[in-house]
Symmetry: C2
Subunit: 451 residues, 2 copies
């Protein structure tokens, strides 16, 4: 059943809530997918959302809780008693979701909730998971998985799977381990169905299994799963014991997050925000980069101020200040973003930084030549000053070369030092290039005019 949230649906729902029509609201929402209910709640006022939430039964309520945005969830849980969080929500969740939800709570509340979880095994799993760094394979994985021993038969397996799979929503692969819990391989359900019940697992499992270690970065996990088209990947500890699995849906979230982060960086937005957020949130994420731009503008004013004398003699020099700035900025963003995108794609790459810079130099030479030639022709016919024509074209050429190399070099260097290279895209690189571009412009101009 495909659900699409419409304005009419929302209005009907809001009227029913306003008139306290409990059972009608329940009828309207009870068949919906948790993701749809979360979407509806996101479009209601906090009171209306709470009204709906309290009508859900335990299982559904915890599924919905996993789907609503982090900060709404934390705010919502903060007012509930720890026993209720533990018994109504956490106990119905997969271990990875439970660990995420608990991890977001204030430290004090975390301990109280953990102490109230009745299922000791589950509480232990959650505590284990909370020990891993949030953005590693360990922080992403769930403890629920279906494991069989290589010495079992298909029949034993099927029985065991029946017992184990109570806790597991979807079985994508059955993992095969030895007596020491070390990961040996995987077994697809298809194989299990198609073999006779007396077959030994050791004979039919696939030992060509791709796994990740717990301390691998989540971006790396996403790249591996994407490269090999894996729907789930087993996670092993440092001596190869199977400790969890990561499913594609978690990795899709990671990919989306990383792509959004890089996009925000290049657009000068310092944090997560979407158009439905409050004015204050928008202001908060925009101001940091605007301050950088402001600082750049003030430095630019000082560079030009230092050349006021030249400007009074040749006012036409001022005409091309925006051109120099814009091109320095554009070229810088282009080259830095290509570096960042290639690094994010995880393509192995055996060129050294100097080889890359050499190549960027060739690209810069060709683009700068074309663009500078255009402005040369324009100025030759329009400005009437051959000196100005040469000064502007040569400056633009030099600025574009510099901006290209700078835009390539900075993210590569950041990456070398394990700093997020995306920091060097967007407003940062435009601002830097703007100022240095102006310096180059006045330097070259001074060679053509006697000031």
């Amino acid at each position: 059943m495909n659900f699409e949230l419409t304005r009419d649906y929302l209005q009907t729902l809001q009227e029913l809530i306003a008139n306290d029509k409990n059972s009608e609201v329940q009828v309207l929402i009870e068949e919906l997918h948790p993701a749809d209910i979360a979407e509806i709640m996101d479009n209601l006022s906090i009171e209306e959302a709470k009204y709906i939430y309290l009508l859900l039964d335990g299982d559904k309520a915890s599924d919905v809780l996993v789907e609503i945005p982090d900060d709404d969830r934390t705010r919502f849980l903060a007012v509930l008693p720890p026993e209720m969080i533990a018994s109504q929500f956490i106990e119905n969740m997969d271990s990875d979701d439970a660990a995420d939800v608990i991890g977001e709570l204030p430290e004090e509340l975390q301990e109280k909730v953990l102490a109230n979880i009745e299922d000791v095994e589950q509480a232990g799993d959650i505590v284990d998971l909370l020990n891993y760094e949030e953005d590693t394979a360990g922080g992403l994985m769930a403890k629920e998985l279906v494991v069989v021993n290589e010495n079992w038969t298909v029949q034993t397996c099927l029985k065991e799977i029946g017992a184990q799979s109570e806790d597991v929503d979807e079985i994508y692969y059955v993992y095969v381990v030895d007596d020491d819990q070390k990961l040996k391989g995987i077994l697809s359900l298809k194989k299990l169905i198609l073999n006779s019940t007396s077959t030994k697992i050791a004979k039919i499992y696939n030992d060509d299994v791709i796994s990740v270690k717990t301390d691998i970065d989540q971006e790396e996990v996403a790249l591996v799963m994407e490269k090999y088209d894996l729907v789930a990947i087993p996670v092993v500890d440092s001596i190869g014991r199977l400790v969890g699995r990561i499913t594609f849906d978690d990795v899709v979230d990671v990919m989306r997050e990383e792509a959004e982060k890089d996009y925000q960086m290049v657009s000068g937005i310092a944090g997560d925000v979407d158009s439905s957020d409050k004015v204050w949130n928008h202001t908060r994420v925009r101001l940091p980069w605007l301050f950088i731009g402001l600082l750049g503008g003030i430095l630019g004013a000082q560079v030009i101020g230092a050349h006021e004398h030249e400007l009074t003699i040749i006012p036409m020099l001022a005409f091309f200040i925006p051109l120099i700035g814009a091109m320095a900025g554009n070229v810088g963003v282009q080259s830095s973003s290509i570096v960042v995108q290639s690094l994010a794609a995880g393509i192995p790459d055996f060129e050294s930084i100097s080889q890359k810079l050499l190549k960027e130099l060739l690209i810069a030479l060709s683009t700068a030549f074309v663009i500078s030639l255009c402005i040369f022709i324009y100025n030759y016919f329009v400005s009437g000053s051959l000196n100005l024509t040469w000064a502007v074209s040569l400056s633009l050429f030099a600025v574009m070369i510099f901006a290209s190399l700078f835009g390539t070099f900075i993210p590569l260097i950041l990456n070398r030092f394990k700093i997020d290279p995306a920091l060097a895209t967007g407003p940062f690189i435009t601002t830097m290039n703007d100022i240095i571009g102006l310096l180059i412009y006045f330097l070259i101009a001074s060679l053509f005019f006697q000031f």
Copy 2:
């Protein structure tokens, strides 16, 4: 087995190839995943890549073919006889991959390849798939799926699945249809394993199935699968008959593509490129936006030229040209990219364009106030001219308000007319805002100075 491509590995391989050590090369690559082999080939010369490729057996060769980049593949296939393409590659592929590969070939070659496919059913499937638009659910789906009739028993099902699953790499869900092939629901393998063999399918399948129609846009498919965490989604025709399925790996590719496209747009890159591409490719994708920047710079020069008189009287006006341009650009990119990102996330949204603009106005007022106040204080103490102080601060305020509203309005309008809103990010919006910003600046300055 986790493979990591190293420089040493590549060197060893290249030496073996140079010395024509057939069997040693084979040993080195035969255990590798097709995605790894494709990665290796991408790091070799064309001759070396061909050498390796010809050592692969049929099945592996077609798997590798699916993994190598589109344009390499087309170039490679163009020189092979159609019979060989059909028998060695296409016949080993899933229908969706086969349709993609054939769809990339020149029209004439397409027909020859299709005519040479021996399996008539497969050829028919491919022809069917080629009829769908490439970027719709129909263009993305594969014909291979496991279907059972609602009237069967678990036992019949298991037998049928055994027969059908020969063509299907991974079974994620078994689809349940009625006698008219209309999709009724899904059945997880888990359910099938855990129920007795005599149970009727009609009793155990889940009728709450989310599907997409063939003509739905691929971005929409990705959003649906991401929202509901689906590993595969069934595709139905206009009367609800099951015609194919889309798996998560295809959708991950779509997500990656769309995110990259938006990222390139905001960074001013007109096409797919990564750092390993040739200089010419880089030049080609960068020049279009640089021309827009050039045009903007020339228009900017004319705006300033029209106010040359003012600049000779108050040269300090020139100092703040970069500030005005940079802030107009930054603000425009920020606001347009938030709109684009929110639209791409597919969050339902019931605000009208005028409501959005009103909100953006509030954001703009608050950020512009803070930034303008800063520059007011700076100029008040540094410039020594109260007129200049007011002129610059008020201009900056007005420019930021305008740039915000413009950056929000343009992508929303493009989206309303079904044009990709991402067109309005990056260099386009910066350039427009630059020029209009200068106009506003000189207009406001003229109110404070008697020229």
